[in-house]
């Protein structure tokens, strides 16, 4: 059975990653961000950098290909999808998801 497409955004950094979604917002504690989780956020900023460095992929509601999450994901070589508009509302904390950074797509895994 094919993976279920949850949401599409802009492809901002190539690569694929599978993992547990962690909805992470400015002000959240980086220590609570699990190593290798997929960060789902509105828009990253420098208060989130320690958590970003633990993420295996980043999905953001806002931003373009030269926005903060896009630039830094490319530098770290992790997939990134930006401008999903409502990713933080649709993707549940703890859900198993797959991010395709080349297509700009996020899938729910069984």
């Amino acid at each position: 059975m094919p993976d279920k497409l949850i949401i599409k955004g802009l492809a901002a950094s190539i690569g694929e990653a599978e993992g547990i979604a962690k909805v992470f917002l400015p002000g959240d504690d980086a220590a609570s961000f699990p190593d290798g989780a997929i960060m789902v956020t509105i828009l990253t900023d420098p208060t989130m950098v320690m958590a970003m460095m633990k993420a295996s992929a980043i999905v953001s509601d806002m931003g373009g290909i030269t926005s903060h999450p896009a630039i830094l994901s490319r530098e770290m070589g992790i997939p990134c999808v930006v401008n999903t508009k409502i990713g933080t509302k649709l993707i549940k904390d703890g859900a198993k998801i797959k991010v395709d950074g080349a297509k700009g797509e996020v899938y729910e895994l069984d």
């Binding site: 900023d45 420098p46 320690m50 806002m62 931003g63 530098e75 770290m76 070589g77």
Partner: protein, 358 residues
Amino acid sequence: MSWINEFAKGSFSLYSGNTISAFQPLDFFHFYGLWYDLWLERVITAMEKIDAEHKSYTELRDVLPTPSNIRALIQKAIPAYIGSDHSKKELYARYTNFMARMLMEACPEDPFGFTKTPLHKPAELGEIIKNTAWKAATPTEARMIGKLITATGSLVHGLYNDVVTDFAWDAYGPYDNQEMANQKYTLLIRNFPDLQPDLSWPKELEASISNLQIYQLYQDVDWVIGCVGCHTIVKSGNPITGLKYYSIIANGKQLNNEEVNKLIDELGMKAEKIYSEIRKKDFEQLKQMVMLQECYQLKALFDKVGMDWKPTPEMLAAIKNKPLQEGILPQGVMMTDLEEYKKNFHLIDFDQEVLKNS
């Protein structure tokens, strides 16, 4: 001088890839019009004192910021003019014509960063390839360097905010076909030239190093850099497996991997703390901070001529208790067409009203 169309091609990438609502922590483009005239009067005075308009980039490079920062200065002068009362056309014309000429002399191959941000001449590149103490890279080290750039870039975002970033974060290249030991590579150079700025941040939040350079040699990775050095985009290839050699230099000394990993933790944590401090500032404090950061970009020029680089009382009075302006640039819209960008971001207006009338 007719540079605006070429500038438009380079700067278009800034807004075809982002919206102004994503710039933090203030909507800068609706702020500059309140006070930029007053600053530019001082900048022009400083330029006159060293006869800058009749000197070459080579003569002036020590008093100018990085090329990407100069591109950003031009980019900001345009909405600043639109937000002003339009009485200082000559000021904006002299300032932007000067900055554009500096870019054309510094980076003749691609002055406005259409696809790359070159700065070095072929002979300089040869020296870099020959004299750098290269280390062979693995994917682990490529990721480590990515984290170093992330941590350092985030600290820069805190120290300088989202639109003065280029003052302390530039990239040069991509320089294709660089030869070492009979192999061809693409060279990318990252430059973080001022990590300890005189901007009144608490000492404990400043970096332990003042500057950082990262040299990277890639194979089979096709890079594009759009307008400013922090906007590196991989067009094809894999930057993790494609990194073959690297060298990381802080304060003139090459770092080993243990030192790099310590630096990642230090800079990342300081970035978080500085930005948390910024988030606590009220609107009046944010405006003052942004003005100070903006003025800092030309500190070296002001220092050279013995002028105080900091905001004047008149500049501070111009923003005190004033709201941001409205309607200068489109909010939340990602530009998809170059002509639409030139119109909506006022490059055509600026060309006709300022550049062609002065």
